[in-house]
Symmetry: C2
Subunit: 213 residues, 2 copies
């Protein structure tokens, strides 16, 4: 059974720590590649263009949409976020697992186009813990924090659309669990269509008692 | 996120080595319990009543059916096979993962009654390798071998009904993969309904700006 690269979508409420989690995973294992999203939102302190995001203007983003250069895009809290197509396709062709860290709207669009994508949602241990983490960030206004919590409540309605949910309580544990899930995700029938079809046709020949080489 | 015991179904073509695989898993990890099936087929050399199967007469089996003492049962190559209800329910209540080694007909019946069950199919590396293993067993007549290969061809049509497929090429590798899959299987939304609902209702309160304790 040949293990091809799979398309992985990681989502999670703002503040849940999914960015840190994904970064650690990519640093630790060579088998994962991280897709860098494009956004029109302003960089946060310490963020670098091309690392956390490609930071572009609204005009540039809309140009990219017109060129069909994005796998998906969505608007979230007044800003555009999208996934540039080229890098994702390149990594998949090379057989590496490509991770897209995108929110639920985008995830659903990718799932439509790539039904074999594996969707994982990172959850906080509790709502109060999520609020604490958002406050701890110290880069968000009170208004933004409330907006994000409201948004989390709405997003939580879509959790059943995901293949897996994990809780980010202890970062080390969560990273291990996520890696374990991603390994297991290679073993679904939809990731092994060609192996199954080959075995099936070989078995059919045997069943009919045909001559074999 | 509390990890409750899950109901695991392992199926595979006759001769693929799923029995050995499951036995090793249960011996190695305390978290798994193995459901012992009931059958009307004759014991093979070395098989023990209550270990590989509960070996019963056709009359006894049909009595069990009448009493609703089986989660599922099916007839396969002229014999009855079924899963006694009591032990499965007891293990699940204790929070252990319970493994049912059953064939595809039974698996589909269990899935209907327990939609949260996790279904895994063990495959041979190839059809010719499967044939070799059946011959290597030396307990089967030529007619039986052909019957089993025919049956495998038919069963292979149902593979997409399973959540995962694994190839038993190297037993150690396959055992590790299976354990990894079973760990990951705890992280689906359907296994975490109560945690998700609790988080969701807590987030809704936050979103509405209600008073919190």
């Amino acid at each position: 059974m040949k293990h091809q690269g799979i398309l992985i979508i990681i989502s999670g409420f703002a503040g849940v720590g999914k960015g840190t989690l994904v970064k650690r995973l990519v640093q630790k294992y060579d088998r994962y590649a991280l897709s860098v999203s494009m956004t029109t939102r302003a960089p946060r302190p310490g963020e670098e263009d091309g690392r956390e995001y490609f930071f572009v203007t609204k005009e540039n983003f809309e140009q990219k949409i017109t060129e069909n250069g994005l796998i998906e895009y969505a608007s979230y809290c007044g800003n555009y976020y999208g996934t540039p197509r080229a890098y994702v396709e390149e990594q998949m062709a090379q057989g590496r697992d490509i991770i897209l860290e995108i929110e639920i709207q985008g995830a659903m669009k990718v799932k439509e186009r790539f039904p074999e994508a594996v969707l994982i949602y990172v959850l906080p241990p509790s709502a109060s813990e999520l609020e604490m983490r958002l406050r701890g960030r110290a880069t968000e206004t009170e208004e933004k924090i409330k907006e994000r919590l409201s948004r989390a409540a709405a997003e939580s309605e879509g959790l059943e659309q995901y293949d897996y949910v994990i809780v980010n309580d202890d970062l080390d544990v969560c990273e291990q669990e996520l890696h374990g899930i991603l390994c297991a995700a290679h073993f679904t029938p939809k990731q092994n269509v060609s192996f199954i079809n080959e075995l099936r046709s070989e078995l059919k020949k045997f069943g009919k008692g045909e001559k074999r080489i």
